[in-house]
Amino acid sequence: MKDLRRVPFGYAAALLFAVLLFGLHLLDISVGQRLIQEFTAFSMRMVVLVPCIFILIGLLDAWVPQQWIQKHVGEDSGIRGAVYVILLAMFQGGPLYGAFPTAHLLWKKGCSMRNVFMYLGAFSTLKIPMMLFEANFLGWRFTLVRGAASLPVFVLTAAIMAAYARGKGLQMKELAEDQAAGQPGAAADGLHRR
């Protein structure tokens, strides 16, 4: 029984979902067919997208030196550090859930909390590929005004998040594979961070 409970919820849900899909397929209802269609379309994208994202992050993890991140976007990086993370975010593409691993990697290597959330804010609102698309359908005036309005909002959000995390002594999650690898990673890092 104990072992059963240790199975992650996601796997159990996926199994149930697979059974459901199969049942719907047999029943041949239109909603079921739509669900199967949407599922296949979205999972095809994920199957390609997600491994690529993680392989790139693994490579970045291996290559980007910790001192470099600490120096340029760390606690004492000031406005220049903020500009760096915003530019980094602007030249990327893809959905926000793909940015969380990168944000986590930045944090693990010594990027300040404020800059990590600045990165996430810029990633969700100022990505250039997305803004090109947006301008195409909603016009340049809309896109530029929305972008300009977003900047102060996420800068403020990042400051609040960093202050909250500092006040409560919160850190990001430590990932199992970082501990297993025995790297001088988040655990040791968290200690001399404050």
Binding site: P8, F9, G10, A14, L35, E38, F42, S43, R45, M46, V48, L49, P51, C52, I53, F54, I55, L56, I57, G58, L59, L60, D61, A62, W63, P95, L96, Y97, F100, P101, A103, H104, L120, S124, T125, P129, M130, F133, E134, N136, F137, L138, F142, V145, R146, A149, S150, V153, T157, I160, M161, Y164, A165, L170, Q171, M172, K173, L175, E177, A181
Partner: protein, 159 residues
């Protein structure tokens, strides 16, 4: 899907360049990435389920109908709710909002919808929580929701 092809190309080139410089580091990096993926697979499976169910139940036409129906502050609130829950890829979301703009839906409503769509993610919460931890993930989403409303009001009053 050309965007996906770009990502694959970038990944392949990165592996080749990295391997040319240092093979051991490359193997180490790719392995690390793969382990990360495996550890987060349950969260990504949940995301997959949520999104495919959502896209099945709520078609782009339904979204358009929900956004276009209400005006005023009710419309803004509806837009914020829908944008927060929905996970609609840009290539679908932008043509849809463009169409709504032409049919006279206020820009404030559209700005709130677009911004919450991008910044707030209820369906992606399992993935976010795995990286940021529950409390930071909740706070980020709450602040982003408030921020999106501010952005919408700013856009609406400036345009």
């Amino acid at each position: 899907m050309p965007k996906d092809l770009t990502l694959i190309a970038v990944t392949v080139v990165a592996i080749i360049v990295s391997a040319a410089i240092d093979r051991r580091k490359t193997v180490q990096g790719v392995r690390k990435g793969w382990r990360m993926l495996m550890n987060l697979l349950p969260q990504f499976l949940l995301l997959l389920i949520f999104v495919s169910v959502f896209l099945t139940l709520v078609s782009p036409e339904t979204l358009a109908a929900m956004l276009g129906r209400q005006g005023g502050s009710l419309g803004v609130i509806a837009a914020a709710c829908i944008g927060s829950v929905a996970l609609v890829p840009g290539p679908i979301a932008y043509p849809l909002t463009g169409m709504l703009a032409e049919s006279g839906v206020p820009l404030t409503v559209l700005a709130v919808f677009v911004t919450t769509l991008m910044m707030v993610g209820i369906l992606t919460f399992p993935v976010e929580k795995a990286y940021l931890g529950g409390r930071l993930a909740v706070l980020r989403n709450v602040l982003s929701l408030v921020g999106a409303l501010l952005i919408g009001v700013l856009v609406g009053s400036l345009l």
